[in-house]
């Protein structure tokens, strides 16, 4: 009788599944239950790495659902600068399970954080819950509030129309308001606001926290969209810094371990929740560090390509053959000259530069 390891598939053994395989062919996915079709609306959210996923889904022609794309008045480059289309709505990076859970509760009006507006040193204003979404900050409080109302409506549409929700868990370390528990994407003072130990507290989420918050989010989302399927990934990007007095590598290991265990637990305990191993693809030793840039933190395009090629092969209907560029989006420039343009242009006949000797002359006698 063979022992269990002798019957294991090649991918289950390190020597055959990793060491003997050319690096670019290592495939830890094995099999994946979700087959995403090009027409299914996909929402992405999460940390920085999630931006790569949305970018590749868009390029490959999948139905990347963007409910807050920015108005067509804005040209493409300006919309990108203003962070439209990076994710499905203009929520910016969602690093933690607590942030995602909070986003749903804010969108549906069951939670309204006390921190409404933060001021920057230059007087401009930032949204404490998406402090970098508007480069340079908002001009006025009224604008910030109007934009937030519009944003949360777009979030609701995304939640209600999504078919497959891809969430990349990024961090466990976060900062919260002592007053009401509101969680901030960035520590107060980093991109607005002022850090105040009397008002702000550091939290390092546990496995139980992440599971509880993700479970609540998934349950809440399914209350408005029962058929939603979830794909969880863990960001392979290490912490930029830890708030704890210990080495950042130690905090990174803790954070990723918590997120990985939580994702595994959620995928094995909740229906239609799946784990995709992008973390393993990038961090495993087979790549010999080549999937990290010189800063040893940013993921290289080769690493992203490896992840996404396996995603398309295993998780999509049509496999990796879909990695073709979509035609460029229609120009967002103002419409071509038409009768109205011409009519106005004809009227515009008085531009001029007027010169005088000294002050414009006095009436001639």
């Amino acid at each position: 009788m063979k022992h269990p390891y002798q019957q294991a598939a090649d991918y289950a053994r390190w020597d055959r599944g990793v060491a003997a395989v050319p690096p670019e062919q290592v495939d830890p996915v094995a099999r994946f239950p979700v087959l995403l079709t090009p027409s299914q609306p996909v929402v992405t959210a999460g940390s920085c790495f999630a931006q790569h996923i949305s970018r590749h889904l868009k390029r490959a022609g999948f139905n990347f659902l963007v409910t807050e794309p920015g108005h067509q008045l804005l040209p493409d480059d300006l919309r990108a600068t203003l962070n439209y289309g990076v994710f499905s709505a203009r929520f910016g990076n969602i690093y933690t399970s607590r942030q995602l859970d909070q986003l749903f509760r804010r969108a549906y009006g069951t939670f309204a954080p006390e921190d409404v507006v933060w001021e920057r040193p230059d007087g401009r204003l930032v949204d404490p819950l998406r402090p970098t979404i508007q480069p340079g900050g908002f001009a006025t409080r009224e604008e910030l509030l109007a934009d937030r109302t519009q944003h949360l409506a777009a979030v609701r549409r995304a939640f209600e129309e999504v078919s497959v929700f891809i969430f990349t868990l990024g961090l466990t370390e976060c900062w919260v308001s002592k007053a009401d528990g509101a969680v901030f994407p960035l520590a107060p003072g980093v991109a607005g606001g002022t850090y105040d130990p009397e008002r702000h507290a550091f939290v390092n989420l546990s496995v139980a926290d992440v599971i509880e918050e993700m479970t609540r989010f998934i349950t809440n989302l399914r209350s408005v969209n029962p058929a939603a399927v979830f794909i969880l990934t863990v960001s392979p990007v290490p912490l930029a810094a830890t708030a704890l007095d210990r080495h950042v590598l130690v905090s990174t290991a803790y954070s990723k371990a918590v997120l990985r265990v939580a994702a595994e637990t959620l995928a094995s305990s909740l229906p239609q929740v799946h784990y995709f191993p992008s973390y393993e693809i990038v961090t495993a030793p087979f790549s010999r560090g080549r999937y990290y840039s010189d800063d040893l933190r940013s993921v290289t395009e080769a690493g992203v390509e490896h992840v996404m090629s396996l995603f398309f092969r295993h998780a999509t209907d049509g496999g990796h053959a879909r990695a073709t560029l979509e035609p460029a989006e229609a120009s967002q420039a103002p419409s071509a000259p038409d009768a109205l343009d011409q009519a106005l242009e004809v009227l515009c006949d008085e531009e001029l530069i007027l010169l005088g000797d000294g002050r414009p002359g006095e009436p001639r006698p």
């Binding site: 008045l73 009224e142 414009p360």
Partner: protein, 230 residues
């Protein structure tokens, strides 16, 4: 403005930017000189001579209609969602319901780009006559009483008049963008004369020549402003 100056027998030299740029000039015995030069890729030698040959202020009406056009954008495609924005200098103004709110900075940048060519021109004039350029604000928008008959003559499928508050906000934003560029050029900036505005901040009906311009009475107000420059 030129008509007002001529009417008041004020001698002037001018460069009209809407001409063919062939250096054509007109003059008459009352001391008017109007040179036609669009300024691209550069001013003609005659224009440069005018700009550098005196020591007085150079009053610029460099402007354009791009902001007016933006305010009429919904006429182009009734299916496109109308937009609105919160004007930084008047943040309490109501937003039109059912519109998509665009960040102020986004609209600001759209307007800035729309006038990029004009700003190049302004920069060049300021360079030729350092410290002497006085930039006047683009004229205020006309009321719906003027806009409605204009649109009815055009082949537009409007079901309603454009958002008048949006038109006003786009004008104020354009004024701000021109002021900012004037500041960068070291030019003085002169805002629209308050007497030219009705209670809602639009051009008084009796001062309107057409939907983008004032008449000679509006020109008189500008002339008064020009005369009062210290």
């Amino acid at each position: 403005m030129l008509e007002a100056a001529a009417e008041a027998h004020v001698p002037f030299q001018a460069i009209t930017l809407k001409g063919e740029g062939d250096g054509t000039f007109m003059s008459n015995a009352n001391g008017w000189t109007v040179l036609s030069d669009h300024g691209f890729p550069d001013f003609t030698d005659e224009s440069k001579q005018l700009l550098t040959g005196s020591s007085g202020p150079i009053i610029s009406f460099i402007s354009g209609i791009r902001h007016v056009r933006l305010g009429l954008r919904q006429m182009d495609d009734p299916l496109e969602r109308p937009f609105d924005f919160v004007l930084a200098e008047a943040p309490h103004m109501p937003l039109e319901s059912g519109t998509e709110i665009i960040p102020f900075d986004g609209v600001h940048e759209v307007v800035r780009r729309a006038f990029k060519r004009r700003f190049k021109l302004m920069t060049r004039v300021a360079g030729l006559a350092p410290g002497r350029l006085v930039q006047f604000a683009p004229p205020p928008p006309v009321s719906d009483r003027w806009l409605e008959p204009f649109l009815s003559k055009q082949n537009v499928k409007a079901t309603a008049l454009p958002n008048r508050l949006l038109r006003w906000k786009l004008w104020r934003l354009t004024v701000a963008v021109f002021r900012q560029h004037a500041d960068r050029c070291g030019a003085r900036f002169v805002d629209c004369p308050p007497e030219a505005l009705d209670a809602d901040g639009f051009m008084r009906d009796e001062l309107v020549r057409n939907v983008t311009h004032g008449n000679v009475a509006f020109g008189r107000l500008l002339l008064e402003q020009a005369r009062s420059l210290s």
